[in-house]
């Protein structure tokens, strides 16, 4: 053996051996250096110490609103409070008039689709706002949007309190066109205004679709006081971010819109002089290479949204979210002709005569689509193909689009009425104590006739139900990194990204013909060696026997 050889060698040989040994050690060290990460992550969870709420506590304000004469009241209604606010905050209402929070109207310059926004689009929950104003506009930041004639230039119609109340007592009546509950002490509320909190934004955004958690899937009242596991940034015991920490504002304009999301932030970390004036993307704080110890993960950020891995499931809080709605079964009454409501054991409505059948879910795996930030809407009066599922808002982008990344979505699936004669989505008049509203009369032709008066194409008189889906990008409820989606959940056959084709993904994709040829040739080679070996063995044995 070589060791023995060495031991018996003269001194020069020993020296050579020593040099060789050191060369091997050095080589191993060089190799080991590849294995050692750049720096161990010793940062505690969250990385940044709690600041006690990034919305800024009221005590940081230079003004004590309880000392203002203007706010001594009495205030008979909302607009009178606004009038007092505007006495000092002279530009506030004008600023708000320019925001989508006020106009519910959005023209998308990127896609060229005009007349979008909440007041115009069709969805597959309660379908549309036209003709159902007072119920829907209970989430408008104004007072009294009861019908088409609402005065959008009115400064005192702006509701300051719904966003700036800190008492937690202020709320709008669900059916009163944005007016507050008359029982509220408006003086008390007005004297205790402050920065927006999660509860303020959540009053509408957690309750989209008319009930807690219904619409978005990643927004519900669990986020009023979430723990670290539900949302690492909003963790009430930790970073305690408010909505506005990321959805930064300027002149009352809130950044980060579902109508114009930034699906790929190439700016990165925002600091003065280097900013797109919003922190509403992950990259705004975490940069473009957010994984210091794993360059392979950084290699993904150009094609995979942060949310895709870091929000493994939506509706992870205490609430379920609505994932299905079948309007076609609505209107069934009991023997007495009274509406029916069926709830599950937790109180979630499964069927109601007003609305039909509902499906609920929690801890849902999102569906993944390429998305470049442009959403194409099927607008009122646009022709649909009722033979298949109608996608009401289609996320644009594909693998060949450099601006598109893979994003997670909640997909809401419904069956809703459409106008057979004109092949357009029908807009039912559902809300109102009149003789045409569906919720009052359970009569589709009447409700559609009345509702579609607002549609560019009037109701043909013939209706049926069509399968529809809407896409809701998932971006909240960011999980701890330990819970992020692992490599193996996508890089495998039939994994999370199974529906996305047109590109080669290692671990998922192979060339079946190459696999067949490769293993066949390798197998034949092995077989050849075995046969060759056996022939030799038999020949040897025969020779010995002979």
């Amino acid at each position: 053996m070589s060791g023995g050889l060495c031991g018996s060698s003269p001194p020069p040989g020993v020296r050579r051996a020593a040099i060789r040994a050191w060369a091997i050690v050095l080589f191993c060290c060089v190799c080991l250096a590849w294995l050692v990460p750049d720096g161990a992550d010793a940062t505690p969870r969250g990385g940044i110490a709690s600041t006690g709420g990034w919305g800024g506590p009221p005590s940081e304000s230079t003004a004590d609103h309880t000392k203002f004469e203007e706010l001594e009241g009495p205030f008979p209604d909302g607009p009178s409070v606004t009038e007092a606010c505007l006495h000092c905050h002279t530009n506030a209402a004008k600023q708000l008039h320019d925001t989508t929070h006020w106009t519910w109207h959005y023209d998308n310059e990127r896609s060229g689709q005009m007349d979008l926004g909440k007041r115009n689009v069709v969805n597959n929950f309660c379908i549309s706002i036209e003709s159902n104003w007072p119920r829907c506009t209970s989430c408008h930041i104004g007072y009294g949007w009861e019908d088409d004639s609402f005065d959008f230039t009115s400064e005192t119609a702006v509701d300051c309190l719904v966003c700036h109340d800190t008492t937690g007592t202020y709320h709008k009546v669900p059916t009163e066109a944005g007016r507050p509950d008359p029982a509220i002490d408006l003086v008390e509320v007005a004297r205790n205004v402050g920065p927006t909190s999660r509860e303020n934004c959540g009053a509408c955004h957690f309750n989209g679709g008319g009930e807690d958690g219904v619409k978005h899937g990643d927004l519900d009242t669990s986020l009023n006081e979430p723990d670290f596991a539900l949302d690492v940034h909003m963790d009430a015991e930790g970073l305690n971010f408010s909505c506005a920490t990321c959805h930064t504002t300027g002149g009352h304009e809130v950044t980060g819109s579902r109508y114009a999301p930034n699906a790929l932030d190439r700016v990165g970390i925002d600091y003065p002089g280097h900013t797109d004036d919003t922190r509403a993307t992950c990259e705004s704080c975490h940069g473009l290479e957010p994984h210091p110890d794993n360059s392979k993960l950084n290699d993904h950020t150009d094609r995979v949204a942060c949310q895709t891995c870091h929000i493994p499931e939506y509706a992870r809080g205490e609430r379920l979210t609505k994932v299905g709605w079948d309007w076609s079964t609505a209107g069934r009454l009991d023997e007495d002709g009274s509406p029916i409501t069926i709830r599950d054991e937790r109180g979630y409505i499964l069927y109601t005569s007003k609305k039909g059948d509902f499906a609920w879910a929690s801890n849902m795996t999102p569906e993944y689509r390429w998305f470049n930030g442009i959403v194409e809407y099927v607008r009122m009066g646009e022709t649909i193909d009722p033979s298949g599922t109608v996608t009401i808002n289609t996320p644009s982008g594909d693998v060949d689009d450099p601006d598109a990344r893979i994003w997670p979505f909640k997909v809401m699936r419904s069956r809703q009425p459409y106008d057979v004669g004109h092949s357009v989505l029908a807009l039912p008049h559902v809300f109102g104590k009149d003789d045409t509203s569906f919720w009052n009369n359970f009569d589709w032709p009447k409700a559609l006739e009345a509702g579609m008066a607002a549609q560019p194409i009037r109701f043909s008189g013939d209706y049926d139900f069509v399968e529809t889906e809407t896409y809701w990008p998932i971006t909240h409820m960011v999980a701890p990194k330990e819970d992020a989606v692992g490599c193996n959940e996508c890089h495998t056959k039939g994994g999370r990204l199974g529906a996305l084709t047109g590109f080669y993904m290692p671990g998922r994709d192979t060339y079946p013909w190459l696999t067949l040829i490769g293993w066949s040739l390798a197998g034949l080679t092995l077989l050849g060696t075995i046969v060759h070996g056996l022939v030799r063995l038999i020949a040897t044995l025969r020779r010995r026997a002979g």
């Binding site: 070589s2 091997i24 392979k296 080669y504 192979t510 060339y511 190459l514 040829i517 390798a522 020779r543």
Partner: protein
């Protein structure tokens, strides 16, 4: 020294044996992890398999740097120069002669020509065909995200690189199967070659002019 006498000679120096067996372990590791990434089976899981595949690749690249320098400096690269002389005799031996223990290997192995013509061809193919293809495609695969810096980004996609890399990996596998059989079982006695690669010593014909003082 008589020309037809065989002697036990150190043919595989300690460095060569270290290199050969490290390379063997690394190539086995790369095949095991690589074919898992290719979806042949599930053992480590994609993440671990891909990670160890990359680690092993860097080790192997490091090893190859040493090996190439060693071959260049020592002149051992000449061992792989192909020759047609005697190739048919060797082929005939492996198909027929090998069955008869009394038939000797037709190739006269010497210290500076220790590979027979078929070996030379096989190792040359390994060195100049399979390995370069697997390395180049592998590095392109690994640095897929940086293609845009080179201007390579365009008609060639990751799928094309994966295709070439996988095809080369199958070629490697086929070489591996053949090599293991011939090297471990085709000597006389059957373990003779394997023993030489472990101990470093082999029975060689001594050619004093060519081998000079290199025999140990």
């Amino acid at each position: 020294m008589p020309r037809n006498k065989k002697e036990l000679v150190m043919v595989f120096s300690r460095f060569e044996r270290f290199w050969h067996w490290s390379q063997a372990i690394l190539i086995i590791a790369m095949m095991v992890t690589g074919f898992e990434v290719n979806g042949a089976y599930q053992w480590l899981g994609y993440e671990q398999a891909a990670q160890w595949h990359r680690f092993a690749a860097w080790f192997l690249i490091g090893l190859w740097v040493f090996v190439i320098v060693w071959h260049a400096i020592t002149g051992e690269w000449k061992q792989y120069i192909p020759t047609r002389r005697g190739i048919m005799a060797v082929a005939k031996y492996y198909t027929a002669g090998i069955l008869d223990p009394s038939v000797p290997h037709p190739y006269r192995k010497t210290r500076m020509a220790k590979h027979n013509p078929l070996q030379r061809l096989a190792y040359l193919a390994f060195n100049v065909l399979i390995s370069p293809v697997i390395w180049i495609s592998g590095l392109l695969y690994m640095f897929y995200n940086d293609w845009y810096r080179t201007g390579l980004d365009g008609p060639v996609g990751l799928g094309d690189v994966a295709l070439v890399h996988t095809a080369a990996a199958f070629a490697m596998l086929i070489f591996f199967v053949g090599h293991v059989y011939l090297a471990a079982f085709a000597g006389k006695p059957f373990y003779a070659y394997l023993k030489a690669m472990i101990t470093g010593y082999d029975l060689l014909y001594i050619n004093p002019e060519a081998d000079g003082d290199r025999k140990s």
